[in-house]
Symmetry: C2
Subunit: 457 residues, 2 copies
């Protein structure tokens, strides 16, 4: 009774209403996703037949062809590739690292951070200094930093309930550590992996040298969380020990790659575009199932489900599998460039790039009016246990899209396990649960349906 | 503004209020759980040092001693064992099964269902008939069933969002299949595993012969979901093929075991008892981390967290680790028997027995007034992403507890992956995520705190 009253209040206040039709439509969407979609088998192929898809790699090339082919089986109105030049960075041989304390050698699992320069061929050896933050580094000053390796060891904060918040407040060490330490004369950087769990996987991810000249760039690597704990402990009693690491990663000229695009033309407003997407590239250590194979196949499933339930959208529904989110966002930038050139009108964009776990809701980037409109659909999503409707960041790839009026949304899956896998060798297919992945796809399709039907304000 | 208005409405209507104190208390509880609790390391010991804990087994005995010892380190007012006689059933050697089609042998992964009788020493061979339900079995009648092995092959329905609902509408095949098929003269039963995923793990679980005389009981085994699919396909073209299976499981006389109990005496109402618990026994194939090691260590953590944040409960808080939920519920029944004998007054009972995944909310067994009271705390739980407050089943072990006035609640974790592991060899420690487990413990502790503070109606 109270719930009904509240609903009535919302409907009177905002003039939105949902009908039984919507309930039935969402029911059909979730049912189709859970019983007949290709979502999981697409991910199986992408992860297990193709594998890692770092920009410029063989895997990325194969993934472009594979997803284009699969979209061509869906009876869409258009499937095409959009050219984009992307960085090509190659890890080279397996990295090695150790601490030497007197005659004892302690080995550590490390991996080069994405876009890092290599060490000299025989590696680097230097004293290592542990800091918890960029501020602490700056306080040390160049006198103490010069000639040293800097070890950034601030853990992700376990107290945040949303793990993305812990990531956001920690990742500056990885993204800016090498740049800032280099300015002070350090010779290398070791960064604690962005992982809430204690384990042996080093997690890569982009390091950003900014405008540092190439010859002034210092090599940067991630160390596993267990490794970071052990190294820190050893350094407490052996502060003058020598740390060694060796990596042979290399950057090449940019190469041609593609965003993969498929669309259903709108029946009433073909000129109004609603984008749904994820990024097709991944890091090179695992197979990128969570980041972001999941988001790609879920986005493709939106079109598949519309076809299966025979829903003909009023607006143009466009799936975009963006290339190069991980180390450049060139795909997202190129997409916006082309869109501006063609004077396209985007009304909505939805991204899934937070893993393939049980969907919990949406992070909505819009004005208050459209936020309230989407939030007023909460009751429709309740049977599917979708409950998070917050205002916040939507997605990196859809970030560049500009339009006169556009609402952007990010799918929010359960985030507790995400950073166990993120950018690491264990981001593999077995970490994805079929039902969780499918529920995410259904949740995205449902929102696309509601926006298509009711428009934005 | 609207949320505030609703809150006000609830407070006016029901006269409940929450203060900043409560917000701070929940904050302290979650923080402590995520940063300093023993929850995960206890589960590590229980799973990896002790392992499976089927009633009457060595593991169950060790688990009783271990959890008692651990509770003794918490500075509780009482820690004790409650004697209970439990069934002892032993699986024996690894089961085997195959279908013979002409000269070809197709092997299948099976496991005896819990409490099943053995096959004769050399196994059973018979024609096998597939049915989807007990109704279909009955329609066949004894003429067609006599001398046959019955293959129950109705899959769990993937369309249900809550997987426990799919389980509930499917498990009659496992619990009653052997009894009903036996009545019609079948010689054995093979049941599709209660698992939404297609894989190679057979899932055990109790089969219930009811009042069937021991000599009339027929052996029952579970087959993996992949096995069930393959067997069904083979039978379509080879309906007269002979199926063979062999299992050597055995039931012994009941043996002495224990419920493990620890408590903090209430400072104001020591006679009012609030129970929190899970079950210490597990099936024998995995190590029972999800079912129900998780619930046990979470329950112990409730007491640990109260101690750590220095909260002194008004009512007596009693952790009960029940023995024998899986094949008899003797621990739950014994607990109520002793409680009635001692004229104890229970006001509240909370059980965690749905896995150690991210907590989503509560299933509340109470009158409307107390349900509304608990639901009015929804806003306090919102920062922790706890959103399910439904009326429904609480828990099997706390089921028998009777009291003049009692509210019972079951913790509801995310259920999507639960039946991938339930009663199977892959229910092991690696399937549990530390943060998810700890969030569950904090959610339970928070509810215990609120009930302790505000009482029941």
């Amino acid at each position: 009774m109270k719930k009904f009253a509240l609903l009535l209040l919302l409907q009177i206040t905002f003039g939105y209403s949902q009908t039984n039709d919507d309930e039935q439509m969402l029911n059909a969407i979730y049912k189709s996703a859970l019983t007949e979609s290709h979502c999981y088998s697409w991910l199986d192929d992408l992860s297990n037949k193709i594998g890692q898809r770092l920009s410029g790699s063989k895997g990325a090339e194969q993934a472009v062809l594979y997803t284009k082919q699969q979209m061509e089986t869906l009876g869409l109105d258009k499937v095409y590739l959009q050219e984009v030049m992307v960085p090509k960075w190659v890890r080279g041989k397996k990295e090695t690292a150790y601490l030497k304390v007197a005659d004892q050698i302690y080995n550590f699992p490390i991996c080069a951070l994405g876009m890092s320069v290599a060490t000299p061929k025989n590696g680097i050896s230097a004293n290592i200094i542990e800091v918890k933050s960029l501020d602490e580094l700056k306080l040390l000053g160049s006198n103490k930093v010069k000639g040293k390796i800097i070890f950034f060891n601030r853990p992700m904060n376990p107290e945040f309930i949303e793990t993305f918040r812990a990531y956001g407040s920690c990742v500056d060490q990885r993204s800016s550590g090498a740049r800032e330490a280099g300015k002070l004369g350090a010779v290398g950087v070791i960064v604690r992996s962005m992982n809430l769990r204690l384990d042996d996987f080093p997690h890569t991810g982009m390091t950003n040298y900014g405008d540092t000249a190439i010859e002034d760039r210092i090599p940067a690597a991630a160390i596993s969380t267990n490794g970071a704990e052990k190294l820190s402990k050893l350094l407490k009693n052996n502060s003058n020990s020598s740390f060694y690491f060796n990596q042979s990663c290399q950057a090449f000229e940019d190469v041609l790659s593609y965003n993969v695009i498929g669309e259903i033309t709108g029946s009433e407003h073909p000129e109004r575009i609603m984008v749904v997407g994820g990024h097709l590239d991944s890091w090179d250590l695992g197979d990128g199932s969570q980041d972001d194979g999941a988001g790609c196949v879920q986005s493709m499933t939106v079109l598949e489900l519309f076809k299966k339930i025979n829903y003909k959208p009023k607006n143009t529904i466009r799936v975009v599998l963006f290339m190069n989110e991980e180390n450049g966002v060139k795909g997202g930038l190129k997409y916006e460039e082309e869109s501006a050139k063609n004077k396209e009108n985007h009304i909505f964009a939805l991204e899934s790039d937070s893993g393939g776990f049980t969907p919990r809701g949406f992070s909505i980037e819009s004005d208050e009016k459209n936020y309230q409109k989407i939030a007023s659909w909460k009751n429709l999503f309740e049977p599917y246990l979708i409950h998070i409707f917050i205002q916040g960041h939507s997605g990196t790839d859809i970030g560049p899209i500009k339009s006169n009026k556009i609402v952007k949304v990010g799918l929010q899956p359960d985030s507790q396990r995400y950073f166990d896998y993120h950018h690491a060798a264990n981001d593999t297919f077995d970490s994805v649960n079929k039902r969780e992945l499918e529920l995410g796809a259904a949740t995205m399709t449902s929102l696309m349906y509601l926006i298509d039907k009711y428009g934005i304000e």
